[in-house]
């Protein structure tokens, strides 16, 4: 039996392809019903309990348990803010964009439920600047939700007040890192902050702040609908529920697929995404966005389940942002590594030394290697340079940097060494002195 999508957060946009983003289309298919139930029950603690019980983990990349994150806000400290990380910038990740463009009301409802649970009255959406259509539809959704009483000073006639401010980013990948996002939101240059203090204690404008991803919050209404315990039954182990995977690269049907966690990479790539064109084989794939280390087209890797902890513990890779990039046999892994390095060198914010200088250095060496000017000793040197950015070269990252951007740039090098050392040595002249 072939695997099917399990649609919760992508249900409406598939069911109502013509009006899923409008208030009528959304309300007509159940939007804001969970919000209504939550505010009339008036029990914020219960919402927090449900989310905790659901086992929901952040869909932005780090996979931190959402309920636990919410519980870090110091009691009795107001104002506090909810910030939505909609700066989806991880290369090959395109799920939040779809959710924003095609189901903005689901996100607004999720924000409203979360804000109610956290007892905060002002939420910010930090939206990737390039999302022009998303900006249009999200702001329209907020305006129309407000007009219907789903937002504003008396949400659905209760005392709960909530406003949502949409802020467009200016095109920096680093602003997807939560503290850089907060800096940028405050009008400063987007550079990560030193932690501690953590955003839960001193976040936006030095107030307690929760930063959640778009998909995470879009999931919250569904958890409320089915209860946390029911949601936790979906998925596998500590990877509960469903996730959207953005599959791209050498596949016949690239796109977003919402699946129950626990299916295998092979099912995702071959069955849902239609397999590799021309009957070629998977040479390697990046399982969780550009920051992750790679896996290869072996049975061991392809048959591994989409389980955050399993892939982490077994292969040292992460599901990250849920972006699976597939490369077939014709691909030059050095060229891929160089292109990724170029991205990270371009996006390094420049605040801390190892990332600022290291990403540029790595890019230059990989460029040389990809263009036939490398030597086998380069790979060894790159590994040590990488070790100075991410000591131990493990995942989860250990880092000499402030944020994980620098270590992310090291993943490709480690993967090259792990899987393609022989190929590289053959190409660059194996006999040359190391």
């Amino acid at each position: 039996m072939t695997v099917q999508e399990t649609r919760f957060v992508t249900k409406r946009l598939h069911d109502r392809p013509d009006d899923s983003w409008t208030i009528d289309g959304a309300v007509g298919s159940g939007a804001y019903e969970q919000l209504r139930a939550v505010v009339s029950a008036n029990n914020p603690a219960d919402v927090q309990e449900q989310v905790k019980a659901s086992g929901l983990r952040g869909r932005g990349g780090a996979g931190f348990p959402t309920g636990q994150k919410w519980s870090f806000l110091p009691a009795g400290s107001f104002p506090r803010y909810l910030v939505v990380n909609a700066d989806e910038g991880e290369p090959s990740t395109f799920k939040d964009r779809m959710l924003i463009e095609r189901d903005p009301h689901q996100l607004v409802e999720g924000i409203a439920i979360a804000a109610f649970a956290l007892q905060c009255n002002l939420a910010f959406v930090y939206l990737r600047g390039e999302f022009a259509l998303g900006y249009e539809r999200l702001t329209e959704a907020i305006v129309s939700a407000k007009a219907r009483g789903f937002l504003g000073s008396n949400v659905l006639g209760t005392d709960f007040a909530l406003d949502i401010v949409v802020h467009r980013g200016a095109g920096a990948y680093i602003c997807g890192e939560e503290t850089a996002l907060l800096e940028s939101l405050e009008g400063e240059r987007g550079m990560p902050r030193i932690r501690p203090p953590f955003p839960a204690i001193e976040g936006l404008y030095a107030k307690p702040t929760v930063v959640n991803n778009v998909e995470t919050l879009s999931t919250v209404p569904h958890i409320m609908a089915m209860s946390g315990a029911e949601y936790a039954k979906l998925g596998v182990n500590r990877s509960t529920g469903t996730r959207i995977f953005s599959v791209s690269g050498h596949v016949n049907k690239p796109g977003n697929y919402e699946v129950e966690l626990g299916i295998t990479f092979r099912q995702l790539i071959d069955e849902l995404a239609g397999g590799v064109p021309g009957g070629r084989k998977v040479k390697f794939f990046i399982p969780g966005g550009a920051s992750s280390q790679w896996l290869i087209g072996s049975d061991e890797h392809l048959d591994a389940p989409l389980d955050m902890d399993y892939v982490q513990q077994t292969f040292g890779v992460m599901l990250g942002s849920g972006a699976v990039m597939v490369f077939d046999e014709t691909t030059d892994p050095i060229l891929v590594a160089w292109r990724l390095a170029k991205f990270f060198a371009h996006e390094s914010c420049g605040k801390c030394t190892p990332c600022r200088e290291g990403t540029g250095w790595i890019e230059k060496v990989l460029y040389r290697m990809a263009h036939g000017l490398g030597s086998p000793s380069d790979l060894k040197m790159l590994l040590d340079v990488g070790d100075n950015i991410s000591p131990g070269l493990n995942a989860p990252f250990s880092q000499t940097t402030i944020c994980p951007l620098g270590p992310s740039a090291v993943s490709a090098i480690v993967s090259l060494d792990k899987f393609f050392r022989a190929e590289i040595e053959a190409r660059l002249g194996a006999g040359a002195p190391a």
Partner: protein
């Protein structure tokens, strides 16, 4: 100096921290990097600076802390009790190696031609903590080699290591966020904004704290190698804050002046005028040989002839017209010793009390000396700070930084009387109109004293701020405008003096004006903060004689000269034609007065009027002591030989006294210091020996501040905190284990140096209260004259000083000369529209005194009805328009036909 009692159940006040296996104690919450350093473990760093907030970006100070995941930066990690930290493990060492290799990836390694070479933290720390070689073989990044980011500072972006010290200083400390990071990744560069240069009065500090040679300043570029420099510690005398600094010379020329971190005074910062103004010492235009007027022209003469000529003028005038026919103007530029010797010559030998170190731009001596004093450091924990006076940023820049820090970082409420709202962010802006400070202060005080709830207006908020917080209110008191009489300021002072806890900081600006006033260079006072009346007996016995009657101040002297009653005028480092606010009066006085003797280093317009010119040594060429605006006495250092045959002012006074039949018997400058310590009550005990040993100088009166004296064991040495002598870290005068100051200080230094302690006890015992005259106490209430009604067409004039004002120091220092502000009448946009001209047009400005043509410009923060005209020593302007006898100066502005 304030200690808080630990509350019951409070967290421990002492943390035991283990650093590399050694247990040390520290205060919980202190930064690990600092605690380690204080206990001899130097953790390398680039971005961390003790006087700025830590940012943890260079990653050089990463360490391992047991129980903490990863590698926390020591500069952002606060110590807690029981913390165990490792700074030298193999992992840490590899990280340090790695960070230094990264820093050198794009660093050009042009060390042989870099001014920083030899005192470069990047060099030094690479040697100590870095790899021997780099594996980087790619192309480094390239930028255009140094680009000017201001008239003084140049930026080499290739050398920059992006530590953000400069940008953070500009934003956090100076409040001039004119430079910032541009672009990202390894293309990140520091830049100013297009068409907006880094025109900060404090830009030089960024050059000093830059850990590489990325920022350089014109005066020092390619002048010297650091290992060739000779250094002496001294106090800056550009303004009355008297920042501590390290003055450096090479081949007998001053080449650089760096800030020294003095906790009570300047925290290591300098303003650019102080930092770069030293160039005037080597100006080609200096007078370096004595000159005497012969057949209408000044001609060079040997010293004996010139001194004889000067003495005979004084002798003749005194015998023909009496001692009161002689007047001495000036003395605020020199040292305490200069001021004392000139006071003794004028008052003890000649017998005249017509002596004034101020030029109608200050406050009466008895006010400055008699009000309850505050210290600069009191600003840090004041209940509130009240600014009644000039814009500190323009006149006392480093005091401005301290007030700004108190306001921004320490959240001390600042009540600013400035009519334009002032320069302190978040202050309570009283917007006091010209001439109304006295009345406004009284209204504020009655709001403070009334039990009623305060209104939500500036007075109400200011009153609430004063009422709400414990501690003393610090009033920074000076002249907000030379175009109004000082009476308004005195009335304000009298109002605030009634507060139960209050201290005043005098905002007089001239370099050593406080030293001059303390040592008697003002009418009615004698050295050591005593009045002529009270000190008469004591000084008659010390000096032989004192004047019979109280003399005239500068305005009185010039008026008397113009009236033919003053026959000989002595100018001691004083240029009234440039500096006195009524230039016509000065011209008249010079026309009528019989003889003029000038003791100066430059042939200013005033000095050109002289019959005898006696050339003097300048800052950097002389030793002695100076007194700052809080009454702190510190030593001057001498670094270069005097130009030509220039002589110290005090020695000239002694030579003239000898020729007038009185032998001071003072051969060395220390003997003058010691005589001051002996005869001047407020200085009692402030001997040359004590001042040499007192790390932060002594505060007057010495008897009341004995407990604050921190003695150092050695002599005057400059040490950077890391001991390497580099300038980029806060330079401490002397490494001192004791940072708490206060009473414990003397004991602590005793632990270090038994002999020092013995001496300290002696010298401080000698500083005990003496039986000599009472010190001046000013406690009068004061009224101020009614303000004239302002007619609808008039603008009320405000005239303050500006930092770069075209005066002698600026004009003779090439690095900053071009920064002198253009002369322009500044008005609000409303008034400009009313006048009906475009910005930049020339308008006719008329006061009671005269009319002038001036360029008019808009200053956005000015309120309507007020015009600002900065005082210009070198141009026609305020000194032509101001009427010294009027309560305020109103002007009318008309278009030219």
């Amino acid at each position: 100096m304030t200690t808080t009692e630990p509350k019951p159940g409070a967290k421990p006040t002492v943390a035991t921290v283990t650093i590399d296996g050694r247990e040390v104690t520290a205060k919980p919450g202190e930064l690990l990097i600092k605690v380690a350093q204080e206990h001899g473990v130097y953790i390398p760093r680039f971005c961390w600076h003790e006087r700025m907030k830590p940012v943890g970006m260079c990653r050089m100070c990463l360490v391992e802390v047991e129980g903490v995941r990863g590698f926390p930066p020591a500069c952002t990690t606060t110590v807690t009790d029981g913390m165990v930290c490792h700074t030298q493990t193999d992992t840490v060492k590899k990280i340090q190696d790695g960070v230094l290799e990264f820093l050198l990836v794009n660093h050009p390694l042009d060390c042989p031609v870099c001014d920083r070479g030899g005192e470069c933290p990047l060099q030094d720390q690479t040697l100590a903590f870095g790899p021997g070689e780099s594996r980087f073989t790619e192309e480094k990044r390239h930028f255009e080699k140094p680009i000017p980011i201001s008239d003084v500072v140049l930026l080499d972006r290739e050398r920059c290591i992006q530590c953000a010290r400069c940008t953070r200083f500009a934003d956090e400390i100076a409040g001039d966020p004119l430079i910032t990071f541009v672009d990202r990744g390894d293309r990140t560069e520091v830049l100013n904004f297009p068409d907006h240069p880094f025109a900060s009065y404090f830009s030089g500090n960024t050059v000093q704290i830059c850990p590489v040679g990325a920022l350089t300043a014109k005066p020092y570029r390619f002048r010297a190698r650091p290992w060739d420099l000779a250094t002496v510690e001294t106090s800056c005398t550009t303004c009355a804050v008297q920042c501590r600094g390290a003055l450096q010379s090479s081949t007998d020329r001053l080449v650089r002046f760096l800030g020294v971190d003095s906790e009570p005074v300047n925290h290591g910062w300098l303003c650019d005028k102080g930092r770069y103004g030293f160039e005037y010492v080597h100006s080609e235009t200096r007078v370096i040989e004595p000159q005497v007027r012969e057949d209408g022209a000044l001609v060079e003469k040997p010293w004996p002839e010139a001194l004889d000529a000067a003495a005979s003028i004084l002798e003749r005038t005194k015998s023909m017209h009496g001692p009161g026919a002689i007047a001495v103007l000036g003395g605020a530029r020199g040292s305490n010793e200069d001021a004392y010797a000139w006071a003794r010559l004028a008052k003890g030998v000649i017998g005249t009390d017509n002596v004034d170190a101020q030029l109608a731009d200050g406050l009466p001596a008895e006010v400055v000396l008699g009000l309850p004093r505050a210290q600069i450091a009191d600003l840090d924990h004041a209940a509130a700070i009240v600014l009644v006076g000039p814009d500190l940023k323009e006149e006392l820049p480093v005091l401005h930084l301290r007030v700004r820090r108190a306001a921004v970082e320490l959240k001390v409420p600042v009540i600013d009387f400035a009519f334009d709202g002032g320069s302190i962010p978040g202050s309570i802006a009283m917007r006091c109109a010209p001439g109304e400070s006295g009345a406004l202060a009284e209204r504020l005080m009655s709001a403070v004293n009334s039990g009623a709830a305060v209104a939500d207006d500036p007075i109400g908020r200011a009153a609430a701020a004063i009422r709400e917080r414990d501690g003393a209110v610090i009033v920074v008191l000076g002249r907000a405008s030379l175009a109004e009489r000082p009476d308004h300021t005195l009335r304000a002072a009298a109002a605030f003096a009634a507060l139960p806890q209050v201290g005043f900081l005098s905002a007089l600006r001239r370099g050593n004006v406080h030293g001059a006033l303390e040592l008697g260079l003002a009418p009615g006072v004698l050295p050591g903060r005593v009045s002529l009346a009270d000190g008469r007996a004591a000084f008659a016995s010390a000096w032989g004689a004192v004047p019979e009657t109280t003399g005239l101040d500068a305005t009185g002297i010039l008026r008397a000269a113009a009236a033919g009653k003053i026959h000989a005028l002595v100018l001691v480092g004083c240029d009234p034609l440039a500096d006195f606010p009524d230039r016509a009066l000065v011209r008249e006085a010079f026309e009528i007065v019989g003889s003029v003797i000038a003791v100066d280093a430059f042939l200013s317009d005033s000095v050109r009027q002289a019959d005898v010119v006696l050339p003097v040594t300048l800052w950097g060429e002389k030793q002695g002591t100076v007194t700052n605006l809080e009454g702190r006495v510190q030593r001057l250092g001498r670094k270069v030989s005097p130009a030509g045959s220039a002589m110290d002012d005090w020695r000239i006074a002694g030579e003239l006294a000898l020729r007038l039949g009185s032998d001071f018997d003072l051969e060395q400058v220390d003997e003058v210091t010691d005589e001051i310590a002996k005869v001047a009550p407020a200085f009692a005990g402030a001997t040359a020996e004590l001042l040499r040993r007192a790390r932060d100088g002594v505060v007057l009166p010495v008897a009341e501040h004995r407990s604050e004296i921190v003695l150092r064991a050695g002599g005057l040495t400059i040490l950077a905190d890391d001991g390497s002598g580099a300038s980029w870290e806060p330079i401490r005068a002397v490494r001192d284990a004791d940072e708490t100051g206060a009473a414990a200080a003397t004991d602590r230094s005793a632990e270090q140096d038994g002999e020092a302690h013995a001496n300290a006890t002696d010298v401080i015992a000698a500083a005990g209260p003496s039986s000599t005259p009472n010190l001046i106490v000013w406690d009068r209430s004061f009224g101020s004259p009614e303000l004239p009604a302002r007619d609808a067409y008039a603008l009320r004039l405000v005239t303050g000083r500006t930092l770069y004002d075209g005066g002698r120091t600026v004009a003779s220092s090439p690095a900053i000369a071009a920064l002198a502000r253009d002369v322009a009448l500044l008005v609000s946009a409303t008034d400009l529209a009313r006048i009906g001209v475009d910005e930049g047009a020339i308008v006719k400005v008329t006061s009671q005194r005269t009319s002038l043509n001036l360029v008019v410009q808009v200053e956005l923060r000015l309120p309507a009805g007020i015009a600002r005209l900065y005082f210009t020593p070198d141009h026609e302007g305020a000194a032509e328009l101001i009427d010294l006898s009027a309560p305020v100066t109103d002007i009318r502005v008309e278009t030219l036909r």
